[in-house]
Each structure stands twice: as C-alpha cells, then as structure tokens.
C-alpha cells in the first residue's frame, strides 16, 4: 500500500511557548490521509482548523509530535528543505485567492514553477496554459489578477496550486468568499482534479453542503479531532483519525 500523503502523530501546537500567556491550540492530533482522498476539515471558529492546515502545509511547525508529508518526516528538515518539500508536494488555495496583483493570470500560475526553476521558459508557459484551459480561463490568461472576478481569481488560484503537480492540495475555505454558483464551480474543479489526477485534497470549509460531497469529513473541536469518517461510496482508505 502506498504511503499516506499526510500522517500526524501526537501533534501539539502552542503559541507563546514558555510565556505566562502560553496557549495550546492543538492537543495531540493524530491524523492520516491516504493518497487520493478528498477530505473536508470542519469545525467551529477558533477550533484550530487553520493551525492544523498550516502545520500540514508546512507553513508552521508543530510544538511537538511527528508530521510526515508524502513519506517525508519533517521534524529533521531545515528551512530550505521544508521550503523545497512545500514547493513540490503541496499546493495551496486560500480563502482570498491571494494572487499576486502585479502579475497576469498566466504568470500567477507559472509562479511556483518559476520559483523552483529560476527563469521562465516555454514549458512553464505550456503548463500554465494547460491548467488555465482546464479551469476555463484561456481567454483571460493575460489579464492582471486584479482584472478578474472573484470566481475567476479563485479558479486561477486552483490552477496555480496544481502547477507543480502536488501530491496534496490544501484549501482554506476556498469558497468562503464566493457566491453559491462560483463556490460550487470551484469545488467541482477540485473534485475533478481529485478524480482525474488522483491529487489528495484537504479542504477547510464551513459549508455543510460542500462538505457532504467530500469523501470524508474530519471534525475538529477545541484542538482535538473528534470525528473522521469515510462516506462508503468514496472511501479510499481506513480512517485513523483519533477521537
């Protein structure tokens, strides 16, 4: 069996460590996400969803516990290696698209490849065009990010997240800022990527309707994963979420 894309064991995260106002927001999280899963991460505000997503996305480090991404144990890695792993293995879609306004849609999609290879080339442009076509934005590719609608910007953000063919796509409330129609379109896009390319997706959402369309919902309350189950028709793995 293939290695899990995400494996957390006893992950804790505290802020202001060692200070009088120290606060633990994750209390020993165990979670495994297998390749090809399409998971929703749900929980009330302040439950630790974003902190958990940032730790899984290697944007933040756990205070204690183990984390492995695509088979790479991260505890021993330095900042450079973490950056490289993040660039290769993980794609991000944020709530507010976070496209870089000074660049066009195509250039934004090229950005992860450009950061890795240093200089733009024809292959990069080809890959960006292919991704923009897959999100239906070919004719908008030369528009600056600021000249696109919210839904279009989020679709560009999905294309950008897929540029490096990541094993894991992390989305932090990607539809939270969109109208229902655009939200469904962006969600369907990620669903499609998951189905056709086998990309593992972990999506933080408050939207129950969208979460119900996911293969598995991981529930987090007060820094603890309280539920993580698979829908029978799309279950691709055994759930190992802690209770």
């Amino acid at each position: 069996m293939a290695e899990p894309v995400v494996a957390l064991q006893g992950v804790r995260k505290s802020y202001n460590l060692g200070m009088p106002n120290e606060a633990e927001v994750l209390h020993g999280v165990d979670l495994v996400i297998e390749p090809g899963e399409f998971c929703a991460l749900m929980g009330p505000s302040g439950s630790g969803k974003s902190t958990l997503l940032n730790i899984i996305g290697l944007l933040d480090r756990p205070s204690s516990g183990q984390l492995a991404i695509a088979g790479n144990l991260t505890s021993g890695l330095d900042d450079k290696a973490i950056t490289r792993l993040r660039g290769h293995a993980i794609g991000f879609v944020f709530q507010y698209h976070h496209l870089i306004p000074a660049f066009s849609a195509r250039e934004n999609v090229m950005m992860p490849m450009l950061l890795e290879r240093g200089r733009p080339d024809a292959a990069m442009r080809g890959r960006a065009d292919e991704l923009l076509a897959s999100v239906g934005l070919t004719s908008w590719r030369d528009n600056l990010a600021t000249n696109l609608s919210g839904g279009q910007q989020q679709r560009v953000a999905v294309a950008r997240a897929l540029a490096m063919k990541p094993a894991l796509l992390l989305a932090d409330e990607p539809t939270g800022n969109l109208d229902t129609q655009s939200a469904q379109a962006v969600f369907d896009l990620m669903r499609d990527v998951n189905r056709t390319q086998g990309t593992t997706v972990l999506i933080v959402t408050h939207n129950r309707t969208l979460a119900d369309q996911c293969g598995r919902i991981v529930q987090i309350v007060d820094g603890r994963v309280t539920r993580g189950w698979s829908r029978p028709e799309s279950c691709l793995m055994s759930v190992k979420a802690s209770r």
């Binding site: 991000f92 306004p101 000074a102 992860p112 450009l114 950061l115």
Partner: protein, 409 residues
C-alpha cells in the same frame, strides 16, 4: 515575462512598476540628492581649480633659494660651561645658488616636475623722468619662465619679448610711471648699477599690488644689475600634482641642499581654506547621501509591509528566504540606479545652467564647471550601492516574515 530574466528581476521590476507613484517619487527624491552631490562636487572642483589657477598662474609651485646665511660663533664652549652668547642674525645678501646649473638639470629630470626656470630677482627702482617707483625685478629666461608663469596670456599691450634691453612691466606700474609700450624707463638697483630699458609689454597679473610692482627683464640683464654674473637667486619650478608640492619640496631640499618653498607653505592660509572647503563639502555630500539611503530604506520598509501578503504567498509556493531577500535588495539597487540617472540629468542641467547664468562682469563664466563622466559614473555607483545597503534591512525583514502571519496579514 522575458525568458532570460531570473525570477528576482521579474518580481522586483513588477513590484516597482506596480507602486508607480511611490517608485517615481522615490526616484525623484534620490535624483535631487544625487543631482546636488554631482553639482556640489563639480562646483567644488571648479572653484578649487579656479582659485588655484588664479593663485598659481602668477607664481611657481616650488621655489629653490639659497640656504639662509647663519652666523656661527667660532669659540668652542668648554665642557661643562654653558655660554649665553647672543648671536646676531646676519643680513641676507642677494646670493647665487651654488651650482645652480647642476640643480636645474637634476630637478628637470624628475618625473614629477613639469618645468624649471632659473631666475635672478631683486629690488630695484624704476624711474621715468620725475616719477620713481620701487619695483621687483625678475630676470628670467623667457622660454623657460613662460612655461612656469604664462606671461604671454597676461599681456594686455605689446609683446612678451625679453631681449637684453627689454622690460615687461605691470599695467599699474606703467600707469604710475606714465609709460606706454615702446617708451624707455631706467631701472637701477641699490648698488647704483642701472640700465635704460624699453617697455615691450604690459601685463595684467590679476592683482593690483603685483601690477604696481612687477617688472620682467632678461636673465643676463638682471644678473648684470644685481652683480650676480653667471648666478641666479632662485630656481622656479612647476609640478604635475600641485597638492604633492610640499612633499616634493622637502625631497628637493634633501636632494639639492638648497631651501625649497612650496606654494602650500607660502600660501598656507589659502591651502587651509581650500582644505576646510573640501571637508565641509565632503560632509554635506555624506549627509545628502545618508538622507538618500534612509529615503530608500523607508520606502522599502513600507513596501515590505505592503507586500507582506505577496511575500507570504511566494513563500507558501516554495519561494526561499534568499529569493525574497534578493527581490527586495534588487528593488533598492534599481531605485538607487534609476534615481542616480535622474540625478545625473539634474546635475548636468545645473552645471550647464551655471555656465549660462553665473558670469563675470565681462561675460565670461565665473569659473567653468566640467561635465566629468567619472563624476556621473561614481554618483551612479554610489547611489546603487547605497540603495543596495539601504534595502538590506527591509529585505531581511521580508525574508524573515513568517508566511502564516504574512498571509493572514
């Protein structure tokens, strides 16, 4: 996106272009500062050259004169007995430099020396009819001396001709004596020796005192009048580097055994004034440069704050700290370079305007300012370097941003 450009250049140029107004106003600010530095440097160099030219065009850079005569008591003091003798300083006669021909030859061979000219000089009385004036008589070898003091350029009437019976005098002396070119005057010295000479030229040395006092005759005429047959009272020289004149004078003194006075020693107040001006100017330029650097740093610090979200996203997409650092360092360097180009234009315009607007009463420029390419190159290099250094702190701040905090804003 151009293929040959690396990511850092692309991002830096896009960020600068995105904040167009900010970039333009910063460039203008740097430009004004660089323009001030360029103009002040040119003005200082021009003014200095002008003062030095005016002062040194009428005098030698180094003058070799015979060592002063000293009285030496012949009595030997007995051991253990201190003698409180008052030794009177002897009168300094007009004497010749011993073996001056050899000294001229030796000094002329030195690479630092531009021209050498022997001179027989002394006090004299110029007389025409009832009018008499005390004057300084300088007997020179015209060909050699004109390379030290360009008298032909200062001639306002007649010719700079110095034959055996010729004399060139200052314009004010001519006016005092009521002589014109072609008139004769009598020149006599204290010993009673005298000669009647024809005025061949009138010179304007740019100084009333000098114009009232100076007379130039042929070397052998002066030698005959002063009783210095075959001798010279001084050897004048000019050097390539005027600011190294004092150092060379000391070397020459050691080399030849005669006294050597440099223009720096004989015009010490002027030299001190020039030095003070250089120091004041350098300080002003330094502080203007500092203001430029702080301006760039301030703009980039604001830019890092404004761009923190973008920095966070770039980091999340695999951008390294080093890449972020380079993006902001480049912005600083580019701002410095572009600002220096604007500054070069401002500086050049100010220099040209100076030439057009600031003039002497006769319509000639007060003093010429050069459009020296090395000055512009140095200013561009300095501004770019300042930009790079000024960008370092904000760039480091950007590179150290926690992506999570940056994205959250």
């Amino acid at each position: 996106m151009t293929d040959w450009l690396p990511f850092e250049w692309i991002a830096a140029s896009r960020f600068l272009r995105e904040g167009r107004l900010q970039t333009l106003s910063t460039m203008l600010g740097i430009g004004i500062g660089v323009g001030v530095i360029i103009f002040m440097s040119a003005a200082l160099a021009g003014q200095q050259a002008n003062i030095v030219r005016r002062v040194l065009s009428a005098q030698a850079h180094i003058v070799l004169i015979p060592a002063q005569e000293v009285a030496r008591p012949l009595r030997g003091g007995e051991p253990g007995v201190a003698e409180a003798a008052i030794v009177q300083k002897p009168l300094q006669r007009v004497r010749s430099i011993d073996q001056w021909q050899r000294i001229v030859q030796e000094v002329d061979a030195l690479p630092e020396v531009k021209a050498v000219s022997p001179m027989a000089a002394g006090a004299a009385i110029a007389q025409r009819g009832e009018a008499t004036r005390s004057v300084t008589m300088q007997g020179v070898d015209a060909e050699r001396y004109f390379r030290i003091v360009p008298l032909p350029e200062k001639i306002v009437a007649g010719q700079p001709r110095l034959g055996a019976e010729d004399i060139v005098i200052g314009v004010d002396l001519a006016s005092d004596l009521g002589v014109r070119v072609g008139d004769k005057i009598r020149l006599s010295v204290a010993s009673g020796q005298g000669a009647t000479l024809t005025v061949t030229g009138l010179v304007d040395l740019g100084n009333k005192g000098a114009n009232q006092r100076m007379t130039y005759v042929a070397l052998h005429t002066a030698q005959a009048l002063l009783g210095l047959i075959g001798g010279v009272s001084s050897v004048d020289l000019t050097v390539h580097d005027i600011y190294a004149a004092e150092e060379l004078a000391q070397r020459l003194q050691a080399l030849t055994g005669v006294e050597a006075d440099s223009w720096i020693r004989t015009n010490s107040q002027l030299y001190l004034a020039i030095n003070a001006q250089v120091i004041a100017n350098t300080l002003i330029r330094f502080f203007v440069g500092l203001a430029i650097a702080f301006g760039i740093a301030a703009v980039l610090i604001v830019s890092v704050v404004q761009k923190s979200k973008e920095i966070g996203i770039l980091r999340a997409m695999g951008g390294s700290r080093a890449q972020i650092l380079r993006v902001f360092l480049l912005q600083g360097a580019v701002l410095g370079l572009l600002g220096s180009l604007v500054g070069s234009a401002i500086g050049a315009a100010a220099i040209v305007l100076w030439g057009v607007l600031v003039k002497n009463p006769d319509g000639t420029p007060l003093f010429p300012l050069d459009l020296d390419p090395t000055l512009f190159l140095a200013a561009a290099l300095l501004a770019t370097l300042s930009g790079l250094i000024a960008a370092f702190v904000p760039a480091l701040r950007g590179a150290r941003l926690d992506p999570v905090v940056a994205i959250r804003g």
